[in-house]
């Protein structure tokens, strides 16, 4: 019986590390990966709450019964969106690399070539 707050703390820690990566790293792809990490942290809290609500049951304020599983469905959607984002993001990174020859974020600061 693991208290829910542990999961949330883990998710918070992962999220903070994601934010840190997002701020500190210089390589575009690594920044991109830290975003993925953040999304994963969010997924974790989704699943944790899904399980929590399923166990608690009860009624939503709107009167409908609590559907624990909707947390999972949300995770599913987050993954789909993350996949789409990764695909387009990496395509952009390739395009940037092709023109700028570098992945270092600080070098890529001129709007025109």
């Amino acid at each position: 019986m693991v208290p829910l707050s542990w999961y949330l703390i883990l998710s918070a820690v992962l999220f903070c590390l994601g934010v840190l990566g997002f701020l500190l790293k210089r390589n575009i792809i690594t920044i991109f990966m830290s975003i993925e990490l953040m999304l994963n942290a969010v997924n974790l809290s989704f699943v944790a709450f899904a399980n929590y609500w399923n166990a608690r049951g009860g009624l939503l304020p709107s009167g409908k019964a609590v559907v624990g599983l909707s947390g999972h469905v949300f995770v599913f959607f987050v993954m789909v969106v993350a996949a789409a984002e990764a695909a387009v993001g990496l395509a952009i990174i390739i395009a940037v690399f092709r023109t700028r020859e570098t992945l270092n974020v600080d070098r890529v600061n001129l709007l025109k070539l």
Binding site: S5, I29, M33, R56
Partner: protein, 166 residues
């Protein structure tokens, strides 16, 4: 008790992976540490009784998205990061900032511990695929369709952007 021990193990793996993601200079290493994070997260999902999600996490996230990342890193072969002026300041501000944020949220979570109660692998077939399927294709049908359109557009975008200008 077993749950807590397992949780702590997986959590530590997770955090170690995440920290390694930051520490590594070469993107390939950080990519693999991210795969480790995702795998441990999958295990934690299993702890939370979410089998289908864990499987999907492994197949989609670890198996597809991260492979994409590794692919791009391999293709571009850009090499390790080099220090640049901006990082010093960011480090000085960023790290304590993140620490404060983490501590703040953590404190809130611990504070609310009583209300939150605890979580366990629910006995009944909670995370069963067919339950999720029924939910996904009935209550969440519209979002499902919308995301499928999103994916289509993303693919086209990626193709257009990725193509070499002929």
């Amino acid at each position: 008790m077993v749950h807590q021990i397992l949780f702590i193990i997986f959590a530590l793996m997770c955090v170690a992976g995440a920290v390694n993601l930051l520490r590594q200079t070469h993107p390939i290493n950080s990519a693999l540490s991210l795969v480790v994070v995702m795998a441990s997260l999958a295990l934690i999902y299993l702890l939370l009784g979410a089998e289908f999600v864990a499987a999907i996490q492994v197949i989609v996230y670890a198996g597809a998205i991260m492979v994409l990342f590794v692919f791009v890193i391999m293709l571009l072969n850009a090499g390790a990061e080099e220090r640049s002026s901006g990082s010093r300041i960011a480090l000085i501000i960023g790290v304590p900032g993140a620490l404060v944020l983490g501590v703040l949220v953590g404190w809130i979570m611990i504070g609310q511990n009583k209300q939150l109660g605890s979580v366990a692998i629910s006995a009944t077939d909670f995370g069963e695929t067919h339950f999720i399927a029924r939910l996904l294709f009935r209550d969440f049908l519209l979002p499902f369709e919308v995301t499928s359109v999103l994916i289509l557009i993303a693919i086209m975008g990626a193709v257009v952007l990725g193509r070499k200008e002929s």
